[in-house]
């Protein structure tokens, strides 16, 4: 990875994509807070705080997109696992398509020649 990519992403970008990425992080099966954040870091998406992730997951739980299950830890505190529901998978599919369309159009717009695409 280049040093450019190692720079933190603008906060607005992370905020816009976090919900979608959190749903995506659960497609492989139930997961917990720190594992989700580590997955984001490993994917080069930047460091997300626990104080940002958990309220988002709480919103998803309220919306019925995820369900939670507490599992006892071998040592130390237990872990709260989040799992996608059927409604959550449907929502992820919908948002993923929207995101793809949006980023494709944004990329195309950014590649537009200076004399095209905007009113002169």
């Amino acid at each position: 990875m280049s040093s450019f990519i190692e720079e933190p992403w603008p906060g607005d970008w992370n905020r816009a994509s976090l919900g979608l990425c959190a749903l995506q992080a659960l497609t492989g099966g139930p997961s917990y807070g720190y594992a989700i954040i580590t997955a984001f870091e490993d994917a080069g998406l930047g460091t997300i705080k626990g104080g940002t992730l958990y309220p988002l997951l709480t919103r998803f739980e309220t919306a019925g997109w995820v369900e939670v299950e507490w599992r006892a830890g071998e040592s130390g505190p237990g872990r709260k696992y989040f799992a996608l529901t059927a409604a959550g998978r449907t929502e992820l599919d919908r948002q993923r398509k929207q995101w793809h369309t949006f980023t494709t159009r944004t990329t195309a717009f950014l590649a537009t020649a200076p004399d095209r695409g905007v009113l002169q």
Binding site: Y32, G33, Y34, I37, T38, E41, T47, K49, G50, G51, Y54, P55, L56, T58, R59, T62, W70, A72, G73, G76, P77, G78, R79, K80
Partner: protein, 245 residues
């Protein structure tokens, strides 16, 4: 993210205590508070971070969680506090009528008494507006004995000595009877509220909710009858003083 072993247990406990308070102020149930605390502890154990670094201030985090949680129609902390404070005011009226009644005199109420009672009523009615501030800023609780003391001493100092100085002259007997009835009614309401609500103690998500023992439940109900019990004791004490005199 580092996984340093934290040795800063005292600030962490303080942060968690403050989070508990803030969640309660946001009307979280005991189960929901236990879930939030366990989640924070799980994340801190995994990440090695300190709570302020990972979650911000307790007030901010509780506010963000509350904004995303389903809204509950449950009896709030404010309702319980209002019931207790109203009982206190009724008890004070009862006690002020007790001595004149025992001496066969009338209850004389002057301007200062009325102003103090009015001020106390306004302060109680506005309690929901500043209760959260007082609970968050513990030092402000010192104003309660100061204001309460002033509202208790001033009427005694400026009490009218004769009926012509009083704005209101009441028969002490009916006041005593009314306040005694109100005290019992408020205690009945408190008892019903206690019995209709779950114990709502903070429980860990991995442990079953502790069964509320009958003894503990009795104690909870007994606290609802604190003012009638005090009123009976005060009545007995006044009667004893009268008989000795």
């Amino acid at each position: 993210m580092s996984k340093e072993v934290t040795t800063n247990a005292v600030p962490r406990k303080k942060w968690l205590d403050e989070l508990t308070l803030e969640l309660r102020l946001n009307d979280f149930s005991g189960t929901a508070v236990g879930d939030a605390l366990a989640t924070v502890e799980e994340f801190l154990a995994d990440s090695g971070q300190e709570p302020l670094e990972a979650f911000g201030t307790p007030r901010e985090y509780a506010s963000e969680l509350a904004a995303e949680s389903p809204k509950k129609a449950k009896e709030s902390l404010r309702g319980i506090v209002m019931l207790g404070v109203t009982s206190l005011v009724v008890f004070l009226l009862f006690s002020s009528a007790l001595t004149p009644w025992s001496q066969g005199e009338q209850l004389l109420i002057g301007g200062v008494q009325m102003a103090c009672t009015g001020l106390a009523a306004v302060l109680i009615l506005l309690l929901p507006l500043y209760l959260s501030f007082m609970v968050r800023n513990f030092w402000t609780l010192l104003t309660i004995p100061l204001v309460g003391g002033a509202l208790g001493i001033l009427p005694a100092i400026f009490a009218p000595k004769v009926a012509t100085d009083a704005l209101l002259v009441l028969s002490a007997g009916p006041v005593l009877l009314t306040t005694a009835t109100l005290l019992i009614a408020l205690s009945v309401v408190g008892t019903v509220m206690t019995l209709r609500t779950d114990t709502d103690s903070i429980t860990s998500p991995l442990e079953p909710a502790p069964a509320m023992t009958v003894k503990a439940r009795y104690f909870e109900i007994l606290t609802q009858w604190l003012f009638p019990v005090l009123a009976v004791l005060l009545f007995g004490f006044t009667a004893l003083i009268q008989s000795l005199a």
